[in-house]
Amino acid sequence: MQSVAVPGPIPWDAPAVTRRAADSREIEFAQLFEEYSAPIHNYVLRMVGDPDRAADITQDTFIKAYRKLDTVTEATSTRSWLYRIATNTAIDDMRRRRMVTPMGNDAPAFANRPDQSPGPEAQVMASTLDERVHRALMQLRPNHRQCLLLSDLDDMSAQQIGDVMGLSYPAVRTLLCRARGEMRRALSAEGFAR
């Protein structure tokens, strides 16, 4: 998938932007971007498994965040709020892809290539640990993957995960337990011992 055409990098400190940086909204957003763009991108990448899509979703997350910046209050956890936007944007993206026939010029570039991959066993042996864990993650249901990533990658508590996913505390605990069970099986299929 391609992203929208961008006329060229527009650095944050470009004159026009600098003028606007006087605006507290701009400063607040710049801080938000600096602090969270990397972890949000990493989270989204692990969610969708595709670098181009992850970049687009992260981009959209921050565009939406900018538009909704006024809605953040002191009582709102900025982190949970931003992760919620990212999660919803990623889910929207996954839904769209699940719901359309994978054909045409937007299909993954590798879809039409002949399958030259090695067999499962050789694949496991040849892959890096990171690739194997990532493959296991991608076997999980999206909501299981989400809560596992928020817990173990982003170190969120059940309460924080609930804020992001719109779930109650008990519901998160149950979901997380199921996700761990599912991940255990997926890791086992990737050759992890336990």
Partner: protein
């Protein structure tokens, strides 16, 4: 040790890894782990897993992300490619044979000669070719006047017999007593990779609200009676799924009448949209939105394909959240009893060999309400054999379905003797004096599997479309019932619907198909959202919003296209409810 017990400890083991255990739970888990090797093994596996996950490589964002975000903010566009970038079955391959329609904002499109001449039972033709509606764009028309009770509006039924002379008034003599144009309509416009869904003011075309990230084109819309909310359904591309949403488009205006309740306030701000759920697409029984007359509730149906279950949900603007109200797996939203205060009453139907309808109470003051349940438990009233009663706006009439239903895939359909009926609906919730809606069809074991039905605000006019007929067509050399035609009738017309009640074939552009129909408060105009074929997969979906004035006999219907004819998807529209005085 049973598996079930291990399961309950697994949740504690999982929670222990993130410090989410109470002291009591910690003690309980520790005691258990002392004696259970299986759970110790689970703890070790989960702990390993957490370490593995935490050790995943962090992948940084692309270097130009900040520039892309800034560019997106400045250009007001998002990066994600919309679903219509991909080939879509119904849009692709239909061909580009669309007759070119002028791109003017509003334009008279067609004034067709009737291909068939007078139809059996039609009113006497009037002067041919008379244009009732001004060719002036609607935006410059005088302000809409909705004076007089709706029943005073002339009933210009196609097929009205000589005995029903009041309905035969020549179209040229019939004053338009209410505005035919919608209060609002939806529009999906822009280049295919950056479409914007907007809600527009009907008379002026001005944007009232812009909706972020539309999932697909809108196919149904209903305005809350207080005008604060637009509920609508959008397609999710060719996924076979719909999304139900509601956007708050206005603040409530308190009434001057101190006896009237204040408008329903909501935690959701004007301009915000709430997603109310997703559902299987393609069934008119599912694509039905029902507002209560006090605007306290929106009733709708969600069908979950993975669970093979269909249940009724409600959205309470005052609470700001949707909630599931049935859990029986075969329940469908019907209609609210209009005018109820304190307690709203809602007809909910269950599909089955013999469908049923149950009238359920909803206490208006109840905040979140109780959990989902069985509509058959202690209903106010039960109607055996009746499915999805659609009450006329004043509640005095109903159109509903009868017949044998079966589940086919993820939808419930009529498989035997299914057809819609028209009846009176009494104050004690009885359906009386029923008659088949289509009077010239021999049903027998054949059936309509489904059809879409809409009442007009006058409580007399109604439209039926998307008819799916399982039997042999009965129209002689014409397809009847025809799924591509709209049948327009009036409850006061004793003959119901016949083949002659189909609107003119030429009302729709070539190759177009009907997505949605609304009957305007005039009782003689239809607003049709017509899906138009597009030329290729890289084109955005298109639909015309057509205002059809129904004429009879040799006088062809008049059709006016609202919105820009070539540039986007326009419709469905929505009307504000008329009050008892006939004003919105």
């Amino acid at each position: 040790m049973t598996g079930h017990r291990h399961e309950s400890f697994e949740e504690l083991i999982s929670a222990s890894l993130t410090g989410d255990l109470t002291a009591v739970e910690r003690q309980r888990l520790d005691s258990h782990l002392d004696t259970c090797s299986q759970c110790r093994s689970t703890l070790a596996a989960f702990a390993d897993q957490r370490r593995i996950m935490a050790g995943l490589r962090h992948v940084g964002p692309p270097r130009d992300l900040d520039a892309r975000v800034r560019s997106g903010i400045e250009q007001g566009r998002l990066a994600s490619l919309p679903w219509w970038r991909r080939p879509a079955v119904i849009f692709a391959g239909v061909g580009g044979g669309l007759a070119a329609v002028a791109g003017a904002l509003l334009a008279i499109v067609l004034l067709n000669g009737s291909p068939d001449g007078p139809q059996v039972g039609d009113a006497t033709p009037s002067a041919s070719g008379t244009i009732l509606l001004s060719a002036t764009p609607l935006a410059t028309l005088p302000p809409p006047v909705r004076s007089g009770a709706p029943s005073a509006a002339p009933s210009q039924s196609a097929g009205t017999s000589a005995e029903t002379s009041p309905a035969e008034a020549s179209p040229t003599e019939a004053p338009i007593t209410a505005s035919p144009e919608p209060d609002v309509y939806l529009a999906l416009t822009g280049p295919f990779d950056n479409l914007a869904l907007t809600i527009r003011h009907g008379p002026t075309g001005e944007t009232i609200a812009e909706i972020d990230t539309p999932s697909g084109p809108p196919i149904a819309a209903e305005l809350s009676p207080d005008g604060q909310w637009l509920a609508y359904i959008t397609r999710f591309g060719e996924s076979g799924l719909n999304e139900v949403r509601a956007t708050r488009i206005a603040e409530g205006i308190p009434s001057d009448n101190p006896e009237e309740l204040p408008p329903v306030d909501s935690p959701i701000e004007v301009g915000e949209t709430i997603v109310l759920g997703e559902s299987v697409a393609g069934s008119p029984f599912l694509e039905h939105l029902a507002w209560s007359s006090n605007s306290q509730y929106l009733g709708y149906t969600l069908s979950d394909a993975s669970a093979n279950s269909t249940d009724v949900w409600i959205f309470q603007p005052g609470v700001g959240k949707p909630r599931q109200v049935t859990n029986v797996g075969n329940a469908y939203a019907g209609s609210w009893i209009p005018g109820s205060a304190g307690t709203s009453q809602f007809w909910i139907s269950t599909a089955g060999d013999e469908p049923m309808s149950y009238l359920r109470p909803f206490r208006d003051s109840a905040g979140g309400g109780s959990g989902p349940g069985d509509p058959a438990e202690n209903p106010i009233s039960t109607a055996e054999g009746i499915f999805q009663p659609l009450l006329s706006p004043n509640g005095s009439r109903a159109i509903y379905w009868k017949g044998r239903m079966q589940q086919s895939g993820d939808k419930w359909l009529f498989v035997e003797s299914g057809q819609p009926y028209l009846s009176e609906h009494s104050e004690d919730f009885e359906f009386a004096s029923e008659r088949p809606l289509f009077s010239d069809l021999t049903v027998g074991r054949d059936a309509f599997t489904t059809a879409a039905i809409a009442w007009g605000a006058d409580g007399d006019a109604y439209a039926v479309w998307r008819t799916q007929w399982t039997g042999i067509p009965q129209g002689g050399d014409k397809l009847y019932p025809d799924p591509q035609r709209v049948y327009f009738g009036h409850a006061t017309d004793p003959r119901g619907l016949t083949q002659a009640h189909a609107i003119d074939e030429a009302d729709l552009p070539e190759g177009a198909s009907v997505v949605d129909v609304k009957v305007s408060p005039t009782g003689r105009h239809l607003l049709i959202t017509a899906l138009r074929p597009i030329g290729g997969v890289q084109e955005a979906p298109r639909a015309s919003l057509l205002l059809v004035e129904r004429n009879t006999g040799a006088v062809a219907d008049e059709v006016l296209a609202l919105g820009s004819a070539d540039d986007g998807w326009f419709g469905p529209p929505a009307f504000e409810a008329l009050t008892e005085t006939g004003t919105p």
